[in-house]
């Protein structure tokens, strides 16, 4: 079981600041197979894995695809937290575990609050989002250059348009 205060994000903050933020997280225990959140649900929280192994899956029209294993210390749900959109994947416990949850309300209160801690948390979340975007872009480019290499240029261009710099 890890302590939230040990995450690199919080270790880099002054202790009072990280204590203030981590106290706004709520912890939640999960049994094997239990879902933390489900694809399509309204996104209302940031989730940090404290204990146990989880998986992230996405269902498409041809079935469920395993996206990643999620381990203690991993943080998920940035996207829904920032834009309030729906969950793009389902997070499920592969064994009994525990997570810490920062609700969107608590996060919004941080956005409003203009102190240094809030700024650092925002920046960290945005950096994680940028890393996620860069990785998604790489995946898309790999698909376009690999399995779609023989597709007509128009299709490949449209799929790739804005992939690296700007979504339309």
């Amino acid at each position: 079981m890890i302590d939230l205060m040990d995450l690199p994000l919080f270790r880099s903050m002054p202790p009072e600041a990280s204590a203030a933020i981590t106290s706004t997280f709520q912890s939640r225990q999960l049994t094997e197979e239990q879902e933390v959140f489900r694809q399509g649900d309204p996104g209302d929280s940031l989730v940090v894995v404290l204990d146990g192994v989880f998986e992230l899956v996405r269902r498409g029209s041809t079935g469920e695809v395993h996206l990643a294993d999620v381990m203690p210390g991993d943080m998920l749900g940035h996207l829904s937290l920032v834009d309030g959109g729906r969950r793009s994947a389902t997070m499920r416990a592969l064994e009994p575990g525990a997570v810490a949850v920062l609700s969107r309300d608590a996060f919004d209160a941080l956005w409003e609050q203009q102190d240094e801690v809030a700024v650092e948390l925002q920046l960290q979340i945005i950096r994680d989002l940028i890393a996620e975007l860069r990785s998604a872009n790489r995946k898309l480019v790999d698909l376009i250059q690999g399995p779609l290499a023989d597709a007509p240029d128009a299709i490949r261009r449209l799929l790739g348009s804005g992939a690296v710099v700007r979504g339309s």
Binding site: I126, P147, A163
Partner: protein
Amino acid sequence: MASSLPSILVDGPLLRGVGRAQRRAFFEATELRGYPAGDALFTEGDPGGAILFIARGEVCVVQSTMSEEPVELARIRAGDFVGELSLLSPAPRSATAVAAAPTQILRMDRDTFFKRLRDHDPAAQALLQTIAKRICQRIRTTDARIDLVHDALQGASPGSLEARLIALTGHTDQGPRSWRTRLLSFFGGDL
């Protein structure tokens, strides 16, 4: 920064909810640069570290490919910005930005932006939120395109793929017929 600030940026939607004086003060802290059509604002591989607001003109973002001529990724029009990722998360420029017309930009470097952010400038805060929401949108669009390709490769029906591809890319300007023809020739041929 020059005496007159471009209204398309100061009064535009980028700094939503911020007072006019603060919006002006934010853009006063930028540096004005001009580029004739065809000149590069930045080149793939350059160290990043600044956001460029387009005050006038138009910018075409292209990426070189191994075998083909450069692919156009996006057109950024006056009132919008480019280069925001490397402002926040240091990495070399992932593409080249070229002036598609005589273009003026307002440039803000990383140090200036972070200083304003940490000094609680509401305009910098607002821009950060605008950028965060844009990034989320782009992740969702990209994930949806990846799903679409996966589905196409696994043999989902061409009709639904066509509708989703049009919805995702928003490129309906080429007319439904040419779209249908192109898409079916690709996905249909593959099924």
